[in-house]
Symmetry: C2
Subunit: 230 residues, 2 copies
Amino acid sequence: MDLKQDIKLAVDIVIFGYEERQLFVLLIKQKYGKYKGRWLLPGGFVKNKEGLKAAAIRELKEESGVVVDDLEQLFTFGDDVKRDHRGRVVTVSYFGTVKPSSMKLKAATDSIDAKWFTIESISDLPYDHNQIVETAFNRLKSKLNYQPIGFNLLSKKFPFSDLENLYMTILQSPIDRRNFRKKILSFDFLEETDELLSKGSGRPATLFKFNKKKYQSSLKRGINFEIKFA
Amino acid sequence: MDLKQDIKLAVDIVIFGYEERQLFVLLIKQKYGKYKGRWLLPGGFVKNKEGLKAAAIRELKEESGVVVDDLEQLFTFGDDVKRDHRGRVVTVSYFGTVKPSSMKLKAATDSIDAKWFTIESISDLPYDHNQIVETAFNRLKSKLNYQPIGFNLLSKKFPFSDLENLYMTILQSPIDRRNFRKKILSFDFLEETDELLSKGSGRPATLFKFNKKKYQSSLKRGINFEIKFA
DNA sequence: ACAAAAGTGTTAGACCTACACCCATGG
DNA sequence: CCATGGGTGTAGGTCTAACACTTTTGT
């Protein structure tokens, strides 16, 4: 065993939120160190007896108050030996999705504030955090095409138009409402409720909910959820 | 900075090779330690001033003699705090593809031997290496469906039947030769040479080669290389 | 009655799938 | 001349893409 190895292991987390036709990323304001006062991704060092994903979930909660029960591993950044000024730090990045209005943001430990930023507004993050966000955003976009990923980002019950707008926002391109609805409904993992939602003017929308059981049983039957729109 | 962190960082590499309608994985025979004499994945600890991918390429070469110029990051294993008996070790796994007959295997440093094993024949590897191989195999299968990945696994010039067999071997299902050829040729990244290859009896096959430039320019034009066969 | 958002079908063309015979060579 | 592997076309069905008007509500 190489006793001289001196590499620190960290985790960084990219949390996406969606609200009112806008996609947001969660950032925290650093309390200490070189980047005190700067906004950056939640994250921190892994504890000796703590799993990687567990560390990510813990740091996220500590620094922002956001609680998730699962995160997906994104990429491990460690090709650049000098990505961190404090010495050699390798970071395992995670990403997750959340509905902002269901979370109360609350800074603690290393952070003095936590806030949602639109994805366009973040630039010049410290370290390689811009690259991490970009990687996460690309993954989000590509996952949208083959997994019904959007449902964490919406309310439990939502009008169909929310889904449409979510896809259009993330993919940054218009989609055909009729074809989209047909395709999604054909997958048969949405359930129509008998509730309606009026928001301001216009015809009230029937609310749908995601039926996880149906989704998973379709998955087992090997059904592909590919969604392609120009 | 957490001075008490005591986590070692390693890399493990899954190299796939294809020859004669069989898919192989490269393993090395361990020279030292608890698993002395056992076959397992090439890999080892990352040096302080060495990028992760560079460490993987170096370890691969040192332990097996296999030289690659690129590897793809697969997954970072570190949720199980006790995956390594030597203490807390987190490993970043990589995978790559290679044509076995173009490589001379040569053990050195930590390994006393290096050998190709068919994917079916490997079981009971030390640590969580079975899980790593499984992860890599799944990735290989899924990449086959949307990237012309197979070309590292074949000779520079190859008969069309080699590609067919490669796909059938990896996906473990028969494919329709006519439809497969039509689809692949429609992507227009293969170039027909005027050479023929006779192997034993049967009509000689025209040799094709992969045209990387055409592939990349198609990629830029946003063409999708999706290949689906039951 | 008007503005705003929800809901809904059809058609043409592209793509996928299934399928069987002839060709060129070696032995 | 037989065995072996290489090379090729078509038709039916399915899926995709493009497209516009009606319904229900709030103001």
